[in-house]
Amino acid sequence: MPTKTTRVDFDALVRRAGLTLTEDQIATFHGAFGYIETMLENIRRPVRGREAEPALTFDPEGFQ
């Protein structure tokens, strides 16, 4: 699956995640990341206004 994120940029994501991975494992994740990028583009459509709330909202009465 083609991935827009370059390998250099992906290596930075791996470091941030704190995972200890082999070269093969990083290559596997990088090779599949295109699937995730497609989904990330999907959920950002349509462009939303600032007031578009998430499905889950804080309920202060939910703890009583």
């Binding site: 200890t20 989904m39 990330l40 499905a55």
Partner: protein, 469 residues
């Protein structure tokens, strides 16, 4: 491999038929349990449905049920019924592994709420059942136990993650079992194993004591050979539980109230683009859906066509929420004991390590839009109809690692919205493997859902066939 059924039982008793026979003192719970334990010993090495058989516990449960039967103090319709639990349901003093090396020796101190409820209803626990690792990665061949195999043909996949439950019920090793469903893990194996499985409304059954996968998508539910049996099990499992923050306080209705009522006057909406365009299904699956629509029409229902957003939208939203919530749970293990996971789980879930908080927030903003859309669409009908799996079970060693990423599945939309949904057998396709339909109802309308599914099941003869094990 056939083993004679105990006296008083049909060859493959259902929960309802066994319950009636026990109530009439024609069937002994001890003899039924002994029969099933023997069948497990013979059949299970072929299908690997069980991770653990709790023979001693089962016989003790059976003797207690039999004593109640003889004393005329039966608790209810599940008293004396042999079941088993997916191995993510905590069982006090009994190993609960999530089919993972990470929890290989985990022994919980307390039962999950639904395990306790089913025990209190008089069920007999035969053991713990195979699952995809942590209800997510599978089929895996690099775990401490092998994956479950399809009883209709053991070379084929069961789907998952409630793989052992689906296989054990279809093979006649148990009369019912528990499953969990975060993106289709009850309905998928129900479909490929040719049984019935319901994901009730989010919050209908407590999730307390069930190892979580993704908090906002996780559902617990029953699986059984028939719709009626699912209704009987759900009756025992449903209800408020203060130990589950998402548990609903809504009253529990009589889930069997509509069985036998038919579908006359109901409106059924077919989400045709899901199974014809978004992820085109096999000819046998499509025939099952079209025949079901025709059958419902002939029984007096009105059939409409429903259009929602592409299934890909629901899939992207649900999948991103699922892997990010799951990764948050597994983060420490992923960082410190990555190699203890099977390859499929760590590669699929691990992708969430590279996402951001903004990504999660965008997914749950999308979720609100999809929930509003579906609520508007179902307002004009009673039930939705579509596929639950795209085709018959594939070969178990030919399931691509990224299959779930490449095409959207038919079940995730109703995890995103939390609607009750059931998968039932709609015939047999290539090589005699089952195909299925999925029916969906409005939130907390499981009773109506059971009524429609039962009407279909009783008007067809798919329940007369069993795997030839």
């Amino acid at each position: 491999m056939n083993i004679s059924a105990p006296a008083g039982a049909t060859a493959f008793p259902t929960i309802a038929s066994a319950s009636a026979d026990i109530a009439a003192k024609k069937l002994s719970p001890v003899e039924l349990t002994t029969h099933l334990l023997a069948r497990i010993k013979t059949v299970d090495p072929v299908i690997n449905a069980f991770l653990l058989v709790t023979e001693e516990r089962a016989l003790a449960d059976a003797k207690a049920a039999e004593a109640r039967m003889m004393a005329g103090t039966r608790i209810g319709p599940l008293d004396g019924i042999p079941i088993a639990h997916k191995d993510i349901y905590n069982t006090a003093g009994i190993r609960t592994t999530a089919h993972s090396r990470q929890l290989e020796h985990n022994v919980p101190a307390a039962d999950a709420t639904s395990v306790a409820k089913l025990a209190a209803a008089g069920t007999i626990m035969l053991g713990k059942l195979a699952t995809h690792e942590f209800a997510f990665g599978g089929p895996s061949f690099d775990l401490p136990w092998p994956p479950a195999r399809n009883p209709w043909n053991p070379l084929h996949f069961t789907a998952g993650s409630s793989s052992g439950t689906g296989a054990a019920i279809a093979a006649g090793l148990i009369l019912g079992g528990t499953g969990s469903d975060t993106g289709g893990s009850i309905r998928g194996p129900a479909a490929l194993c040719g049984i019935a499985g319901i994901k009730p409304t989010y919050g209908r059954i407590s999730r307390a004591g069930i190892l979580p996968l993704a908090y906002t998508l996780d559902h617990s539910g029953p699986m059984a050979w028939t719709v009626q049996d699912c209704a009987l099990m759900l009756q025992a499992m449903a209800g408020y539980d203060k130990a589950d923050p998402a548990a609903s306080t809504k009253p529990v209705p009589d889930f069997s109230a509509t069985l036998g009522n038919g579908v006359k006057g109901l409106k059924i909406g077919v989400i045709r683009h899901f199974h014809e365009t978004d992820n085109p299904v096999s000819p046998a699956t499509l025939k099952g859906i079209n025949d079901a629509a025709d059958l419902f029409r002939s029984m007096g229902a009105e059939i409409q066509e429903i259009t929602l957003s592409p299934m890909q939208d629901y899939g992207a939203c649900g999948f991103l929420i699922m892997i990010q919530e799951a990764y948050a749970l597994h983060e420490k293990w992923m960082q410190n004991s990555f190699e203890k996971y099977g390859e499929l789980l760590r590669d699929r879930m691990g992708l969430a390590a590279f996402l951001t908080g903004a990504d999660y927030m965008q997914a749950i903003r999308k979720r609100r839009e999809l929930c509003l859309e579906m609520a508007a669409a179902i307002a004009g009908v009673d039930i939705f109809l579509t596929a639950s799996q795209p085709m018959e079970a594939p070969l178990i060693d030919a399931v691509p690692k990224w299959a779930a990423f490449e095409k959207p599945n038919f079940t995730m939309p109703f995890n995103v919205t939390g609607y009750p949904a059931i998968s039932i057998c709609s015939g047999y396709g290539t090589g005699g493997l089952p195909v299925s339909i999925q029916l969906i109802a409005k939130p907390f309308e499981e009773t109506k859902l059971f009524g429609v599914a039962d009407a279909y099941e009783k008007a067809t003869d798919w329940r007369s066939q069993r795997p030839a094990l």
